[in-house]
Every structure is written in structure tokens, then in C-alpha cells.
Amino acid sequence: MQVQTINLTKSYPGNVTAVQPMNIQLADGIVGLLGPNGAGKTTFMRMLATLLEPSSGTALVDGNDIRYDKPAVRALLGYLPQDFGLYPSLSVVECLDYMGLLAGINKTKERRARIETMLERVNLTEFRHRKVGALSGGMKRRLGIAQAILHEPRLVIFDEPTAGLDPEERIRVRNLLSELGGDRIVILSTHIVADIASSAQTIAVMNRGSIIFHGEPAAMIERVRGKTWQVLTDDAGHDMLRKQYSVIEVQREATGVLVRLVGEQIDYPGVEPRDPTLEDAYVWLMSERTGESPRIEVPELIAPRQGQTSL
């Protein structure tokens, strides 16, 4: 299974280009698609999912052109948009049955068997007869995942699958997604690095409609080696550092504020180099590209330790 984009572009009236001419090749495995809000991730994925017509260029999904072979592409595709709805008055099973039919599983017996397996897999068996409208946000998201992979698609696209979920449900969904790899491409879009840190075989980082990095997580981390720092400072120092550098993490300690940041050279007393993480690499890539500190959706402050007050 292979996905190849050839100058894939999407622009809108008013000289707005959501996706710059894009050339990227994706192979089997989980691909983490990272990027801030408005980077063009959803537009890119909707074009791949044949829901949006490219302005120019194209993409080939297993050799099928997304402009001319839409039914063939859809037969290979499983898609879960960020915001989706399901018929609230249907039960979980009825909903999956209908979605399975639409996805091309025509035989009733086969559909039922797959639904049973899928319910086990997404841990919804005991809620099989519950109305969709009565499911929690996390359950609904798991149901969304189930409908996307029910027909065993070769290309699976998940747009922000963990958005808006509580931590426990987020971990559950994350674990579920990490099992999906194998001989298929799973594109997992998120702006939360932790969601793909453990599962993605390759990562593509998008910003302002362009892919600014595509490779293995290790290679991404290597980009920022020697550029990750940590310093213990006070509130005034923290403010100063935040204005000058890309601050990744801030923790309030008993003795001051522990700040983790990325930069070529940090000119600040007491600063020490640290081993880089994927999150460091992501922040570095974004700042490198834009020349400014990106706004990232990580909690500004980690929860304070016992006995400390929140900032």
C-alpha cells in the first residue's frame, strides 16, 4: 500500500492557499501528521479521502487517482473526521450495520460477524444496544473508529481522534490506534505530540500548508539534538525566556521555576543541555520554520507537585 501526492494543492478564493504544492510518499505503518491548528492537515486529509477536490495536482492511493478513481479510493479508505455525527436514535449495532453496508460489506452475515469482532476490539460489546445519543464522548469516538475500520481498509485517516477526550479515554483511544498498523497506512492527525509519540513509525509535520518534515521520529529528534535546554529560574527569568525562546515546558519547583526550552544557543546563566524529545523536535521545527515561537497545545504548566501552588 502506498500513497503518493504529486503537487497536491488546495487554494480558496481570496488568494488563500490551504495546502501548498505537496509531494510526499507514504508507506505502510502509522503516520503521525503533526501541525498547529490551521496548518492544512484537515484539508490535506479531506483531499486524500476524496471529500475535497484538489485545486491542482493529485494523489495516488495504491495507484488510484483521487480525482478520477474515487470509488476505488473509497473502497480502500477508512475515515474518521474530527467532528462527526451518527444517528442518535440508532443503537451501536444498528449504526455499525448501516455504516458497514455503506462501506461495501454487502453480505449481512459477514457484516454481523465483523461488527462483533469490532465491538470487542473497541470495547463496546456491553454497550451494543445502547443508543448512540446516550454514549459518552469517548465511546462515540471509539464507535467512530470502529465504523472507520469495519471494512478492513488499507488507508485509514483519523483527524484529531483524541480531541476533547478525558485523559483516561485519550489513553484508551491512543492504545487502540497503536494496534492498527500492519499492512496498511494509518494517518493520524493531531497537534498533540504525545498522541503519536509511541505509535507512529513516521511523522510528517505540516505548517502553513507545507510539509516541513517527513521521516522517522528518531530522525526528527536528531534535528534538535544539542538544542534542548533546561534552566531553573524565577518568575522574572521565566518571563524573559518565554519572550526570547521557544519554551516547551514549565514546572514550578520549590526553589523556582524549571523551564525547558529549545534554541541554538541559550544565553542565560545556569542553563544545561538536555536529551531531546519528540515534542522538543516539533517545537524546534515550528520555530525554525516560522522564526517565532509557535503556539502549541501542550499544557502551559504541568500540574504542580504536592505542596506547591498552581501558577
Binding site: 479521502a49 476524496t50 471529500l51 475535497l52 477536490e53 480525482r67 478520477y68 478513481d69 474515487k70 470509488p71 473509497r74 473502497a75 479508505l77 477508512g78 475515515y79 474518521l80 473526521p81 467532528d83 462527526f84 455525527g85 451518527l86 444517528y87 442518535p88 436514535s89 440508532l90 448501516y98 455504516m99 453496508l101 455503506l102 462501506a103 461495501g104 454487502n106 467512530g144 465504523q147
Partner: protein
């Protein structure tokens, strides 16, 4: 050969899968629609109208009541169902599911067609509730026998206009996603169709059965056009289905237009009707002169005229589709035809109706072998009670032959002159009718001692 067979098999499999998805969507939509209270509430409202019709109608026969349902209450039913269809098409939760559906192999057209079928079932529910309530009401309160077939024909009359208006409303809401726009435009068209052409025969009169296929054709055309236009970007560039739908809509429109034109030529227009009336109004008719000649085209295309009956006596029987004892009357007509074969009695049923199929449908409804093939023609228009009204002209034949009520009979001689018109047609006067016919055919004077039970409709 092998590759052709394989291609055919693959095509068949794809068609079968598509049908399965349409069916699945239709079942789902039906379920969702019927879980919605709107069709049931509408059914209660329409059912109440049906009940009131039973309790207030002067004639409580199946024919009269079913006529009220399809013709008198029909427009109200249509406008109510048009709004129901719009509300069923407008369901915001559907739009949230669209993104998921669109990423699957199912075509938009399959989903929309399934939704339309679900809508049709849902609008069928209130209609059925209305008809069932009326039938139960008739069974409970009325003295006349219940004739389910009369209601079936009435339902059959109503369906094309209901389907046309609800489909139009459904299509507009689906395309625009704006409830008030779809319902509003369809409602406006309803208003124009009913009040723009109130009395004269026209191809645009939606309630007339002769226009049934014009409006069925328009329904189909709107549906195909909507399938063509709905989320076209989901279709692959230069997709065969785009071309297929475009050709289908063009063909449907063309065939409908030609058919409409054909009907427009066949039915008398406003000017023709008014001219006929004026001619008859001004023409002096000396007493004892042969009846003016009238001609009609029968359903099978045969031309039938009063002049063709010259040279033998003929009995003209006038009726309307809403007459309460219509089916027994047609059966008696058939018996007369058999019993008076030796007398070479000509027989012609003349149905007064704005539906040009009224007479043929009555014969079909009678359904017995004897009544099949009865010579029946339909003369456009109802019965005019008073003087000529140019805004509501009615049947020229009824006016010219002084028929003011139905059923009624008129016996004309071999010279085309009127012999008698006071012939009883009810079942109880069957023997009396035959005696009177025999006397008249032998030019004998009617015996005043015979039981005489005239119908009050004929002015001598």
C-alpha cells in the same frame, strides 16, 4: 466472450450492491421518519378531516366520500404533506453524518434515493390514516356499502400530485439545506397550480388524472436532476454516472414535455370551451329537432359521436364518478345491452368529469366481465346548475342536453330525436325501465298504470 460475461457479472454485482445500499438507506430512513412524531400528528389531522367528511357529507357512499378525499380535501392534504416532506428532508443530524457517509463507497445518489423512498413511506402513513379513518367511519356510520375499490381509485388519483409536490419540496430542501426555501418554493408552486388555473381544462391542472403522467414525469425529472446536482464533487471527474444522470434527466424532461403537449392538444382549452358554450347559448334549437351532434375520443382512441347512433334507437346514460350507486348502474347498463340486443338498441354511457379518464376508470372499477367494453365516454366538466358561467363553464353536453343531475337517462330515436328522458335507473325500477324501453322502442304510449319512479334530474 469470457471477458464480456465477466464484465456483465461485475456490473450485475455492482448494481445489486447499489440496490442493497439504497434499500438499507430506505429502511433506515423509514425507521427514523416513523420514530418522528410529525407523520403521526399529520395522520391524526388528516384522519380528523376524513371523519368529518363522513359525518357531514350529504352522500355517504364510498364514491362520494372518496371523491371528497381526493378532490375536495386533496389540495389541503397536498399542502400539508408538502410541508411534512420538507421537514423530513431537513434534519440537521443528517448533515453531521454526511462526512462519514461520503468517505465510503456508497454513492450520494444511492443515499438520496434511499432518503426519498423513506420520505415517500413517511408521507404514505398520514394518507393511509386518513383513508382508513374515513373507511372505518363509513362502515360505522353510513348506510351505503363500503366499496374499498372506490377509495383505492381515489388514493391513486391523489398520489401523483402528492408525489410531485412532496418530491419537489424534498429536492429543494436537500439541495439548499434551507427548510423554508424548499417548502416555500414548493408551496408557492402549489398555490400557482391551484389558483392559477382554477376552472379550465389545462395540462397544468395537477389534480386531473389525464395529467397524471405529466406530473409523474416531472416528479422523476426533478428527482434525477437533484441526484445530478447533489454534491456533484463527490463524483469522479468524467464519471459515467454524471453522464447517465444528465441523459436520463434530459430524456425524462423531453418525454414529459412531448406527452404534456399531446395532452394539451387533446383537452379542450379555455377558448375552445368558452366558444362551445357561446355557440350553444346563441343557437336556437327548435323543438323536435335531432339532438346536436357531440363527439368524443374514447380511451382506446376510437372516435364516438351521437351522429354514429343515427339509424337505430339509442339510450344515453349520464353519470359522474362520485355518484353513489355507480357500480350497480354500470352493471345494469351491461344487462340492458345484453337484453336489448335484438332491438338493436344503441347504448352509450356519458360520464361528466373534469378527469378525462373518469368514465374508463368507472368501467375498470366495476370490474365484471359484463361491464368491460361498455361504450363509455367522458365529457369534460361538471354539471352546470344555473346559467352559463364563463369562470366555471362545466360540461357543454350536460348543459346542451339539459342534464342537471346524475345518474340520468335519455332515449333517442333512430332519427336522432329525443324520445323520452324520464327513465328510472335504480335497481327497484328495473322491470319498469325495461317495459318503458320496450314501449318506447315500439313507439307505444306509456301506460300510466305502470309503476313510475322517475329520477328527478331531467328537465323536459
Amino acid at each position: 466472450m469470457n471477458s464480456t460475461t465477466t464484465k456483465l457479472a461485475s456490473l450485475l454485482a455492482r448494481a445489486q450492491a447499489a440496490l442493497g445500499r439504497i434499500w438499507g438507506t430506505a429502511v433506515l430512513e423509514t425507521k427514523l421518519n416513523l420514530f418522528n412524531p410529525a407523520p403521526w400528528v399529520m395522520g391524526l389531522v388528516l384522519g380528523a378531516f376524513g371523519y368529518l367528511a363522513v359525518r357531514t357529507a350529504p352522500d355517504d357512499s364510498s364514491f362520494a366520500l372518496s371523491w371528497i378525499l381526493s378532490h375536495d380535501l386533496g389540495p389541503l392534504t397536498e399542502i400539508l404533506l408538502l410541508f411534512l416532506a420538507a421537514s423530513l428532508a431537513y434534519r440537521p443530524q443528517r448533515y453531521e453524518v454526511t462526512e462519514l457517509q461520503d468517505s465510503k463507497v456508497v454513492a450520494s445518489e444511492e443515499i438520496i434515493l434511499g432518503r426519498w423512498l423513506g420520505m415517500v413511506v413517511a408521507i404514505g402513513v398520514p394518507l393511509l390514516m386518513q383513508y382508513l379513518t374515513t373507511m372505518i367511519g363509513q362502515k360505522t356510520y353510513a348506510q351505503n356499502t363500503l366499496v374499498p375499490l372506490a377509495y383505492l381509485y381515489s388514493f391513486w388519483h391523489l398520489m401523483p400530485s402528492v408525489l410531485f409536490l412532496t418530491t419537489l419540496s424534498f429536492c429543494l430542501v436537500v439541495l439548499t439545506r434551507v427548510l423554508i426555501l424548499g417548502a416555500g418554493f414548493a408551496g408557492l408552486l402549489w398555490f400557482v397550480l391551484f389558483f392559477g388555473h382554477p376552472y379550465y381544462p389545462s395540462v397544468l391542472r395537477i389534480e386531473l388524472s389525464q395529467n397524471r403522467w405529466v406530473f409523474n414525469g416531472l416528479t422523476g425529472s426533478f428527482l434525477v436532476l437533484m441526484l445530478l446536482g447533489y454534491r456533484g464533487q463527490r463524483r469522479a471527474k468524467r464519471a459515467p454516472s454524471t453522464y447517465g444522470l444528465a441523459i436520463a434527466s434530459l430524456l425524462l424532461f423531453s418525454v414529459t414535455a412531448i406527452h404534456g403537449l399531446w395532452i394539451a392538444l387533446a383537452i379542450p382549452g379555455k377558448s375552445s370551451v368558452v366558444d362551445d358554450w357561446k355557440r350553444l347559448e346563441t343557437a336556437a334549437k327548435p323543438k323536435g329537432e335531432p339532438l346536436p351532434n357531440f363527439a368524443w375520443n374514447a380511451d382506446n382512441g376510437q372516435r364516438i359521436s351521437l351522429a354514429q347512433m343515427r339509424g337505430r334507437p339509442a339510450l344515453l346514460i349520464f353519470f359522474q364518478p362520485k355518484d353513489s350507486e355507480l357500480l350497480p348502474l354500470l352493471n345494469r347498463m351491461a344487462r340492458l345491452r345484453t337484453e336489448f340486443t335484438a332491438d338493436k338498441l344503441g347504448l352509450l354511457g356519458i360520464c361528466f368529469s373534469e378527469d378525462l379518464n373518469g368514465g374508463d376508470e368507472a368501467v375498470r372499477m366495476a370490474g365484471t366481465p359484463a361491464t368491460q367494453g361498455l361504450p363509455v365516454v367522458t365529457d369534460w366538466g361538471g354539471i352546470t346548475q344555473g346559467s352559463f358561467d364563463a369562470r366555471h363553464p362545466g360540461s357543454v353536453v350536460a348543459w346542451a342536453l339539459h342534464v342537471r343531475n346524475t345518474p340520468a337517462a335519455l332515449l333517442i330515436g333512430s332519427d336522432g330525436r329525443e324520445m323520452t328522458r324520464d327513465l328510472p335507473l335504480d335497481e327497484n325500477s328495473w322491470t319498469d325501465l325495461k317495459l318503458r324501453l320496450s314501449s318506447a322502442l315500439k313507439h307505444e304510449k306509456l301506460d300510466p298504470g305502470l309503476r313510475y319512479n322517475p329520477l328527478p334530474g331531467i328537465l323536459s
